[in-house]
Symmetry: C2
């Protein structure tokens, strides 16, 4: 496995791979890798000859009150996991390289980014869009894999990729869960033992929505009420948002007639967790 | 010469050229080509194996009160000029292709874009940044040539290219002028006979600044006053701005100690013309 810290070197390596006719698969991450990330690597390997995993805790996608400085980092562990997963290139740029002095260019998707996490975390998706656009230009991938756990991010990136004409195919990677149902996340590390137990309420609340939908219920309000009641059963949970939106437009729906994204963000203690499920008619 | 209207087809052609190891030179234009554009093509030919000229009157860089609809267009003439100039690919996308339904992603440089034309034309450089970013992703150039006449645009694009990590070398092309000194521009076509004569005041005003600088004058105010007086000598001229700014930061200077950009925008009748010169110590 090659480890690259400079974006110039990464871009040159990518250009060389492309000239050699190799397909580049890309998995952008903020590190502190877990099985979820590694499943994205495996997906990338299925669609490409060479897999690049980037590891960059991107400052611009954190708000001033958020957990940028304490976001978990463990390069040695991540490096070992990448080697085991047969990642070809681990790209680990410096903040100075990604955001040189006088950096003044922004990329912003402003329809799909507005609600959900975009409303709770102003500027978050602007940070995501700029870093992903820049990483695409440096890594020059044929395909890039994004986890479905970050449902809104996946949709924002897909839109940005289309709008800006990037020649990159975006592949969604299914959410991986712990045996008890908690969606895998680097932030799960923040949870204390009691919080870890109560964090299961996110998945249970989504299961509730799926069950109601399965019985034929199509009123978003009914699902929403049931989900909120479930979340409130956990004393350490504080709801950031619970939303039922159109899966394409991310606009709130009242009656579910097309595929709908059920998404939530919940603080368990001080830790903000997200999870989601898509409701669609069985075909 | 190959003519391509679809961005997908253009991107595939570019990928094929790159795989074949050919260097792509790119000249983005809004068409209605003149000798200035053709000089950019020649410059691109010096730095690349294959030259792509794009012809797209980009709606997003025009303000609502500006001349988008009446901007001069003559595809047959442009096509012939491109053939004569040995352009390899003429890329002429449709607005629907460049801005598909639901387009919601923006690119914005927000330091260098603020003053000068950015102040007079709100949103202009946002439109420029997004179209150039998208064209770079579609045409995949190794080098791209931008005219020095659009001084601020050149600097905004250079900054955007660096900030977003595009692997594109930006090459500036010197301003071409009519024999009497008027900078070549597709908009010169709008000028009536008397306007055409009075339009020379832009260049004369710049010459005045150069002459004063040549005598050792370094106070921006003195240059500015002389330029304004010159411009006011033309009754059909209405000043949009006359600015003396640092060539790197585009911030206004009072004493010229480093290279300075002298830039102006002047309406001659209803036609807005721009021109500029860089003042620097002879080395």
């Amino acid at each position: 496995m090659r480890i690259i810290h400079s974006s110039k070197e990464m871009q040159n390596a990518a250009l060389e791979l492309r000239r050699a006719g190799r397909r580049i698969g890309f998995v952008p991450t903020m590190g502190y890798l877990h099985e979820g990330h590694l499943s994205l690597v495996r997906l990338a390997q299925q669609h490409a000859d060479v897999v690049v995993l980037s590891l960059f805790v991107n400052p611009t996608q954190f708000g001033p009150q958020e957990d940028f400085s304490k976001y978990p980092r463990d390069f040695a562990r991540d490096e070992a996991l990448c080697r085991d997963a047969r990642v070809d290139i681990l790209f680990n740029p410096t903040p100075e390289d990604m955001y040189p002095e006088g950096h003044s260019t922004f990329v912003e998707e402003n329809a799909l980014s507005r609600g959900l996490c975009g409303a709770s975390r102003p500027g978050h998706f602007r940070g995501v869009a700029i870093v992903v656009a820049k990483l695409f230009n440096i890594v020059l991938p044929d395909v890039a894999v994004f986890g479905e756990k970050d449902a809104q991010q996946l949709r924002v990136i897909r839109r940005m990729t289309r709008d800006l004409g990037f020649g990159v195919r975006i592949i969604p990677g299914p959410t991986l869960r712990e045996p008890d149902g908690l969606a895998m996340s680097s932030r799960n590390k923040y949870l204390g033992p009691e919080e870890r137990i109560q964090a299961l309420v996110l998945k249970r609340s989504l299961d509730k929505a799926v069950a109601l939908y399965g019985t034929g219920e199509r009123r978003a309000e009914v699902l929403h009420t049931a989900m909120v009641a479930m979340l409130k059963s956990a004393p350490l949970a504080r709801i950031d948002y619970v939303e039922i939106v159109d899966d394409e437009t991310l606009e709130r729906v009242t009656v579910i007639e097309r595929p709908a994204l059920v998404a939530l963000a919940v603080f368990i203690g001080k830790t903000r967790l997200i999870d989601n499920v898509v409701l669609r008619q069985p075909t």
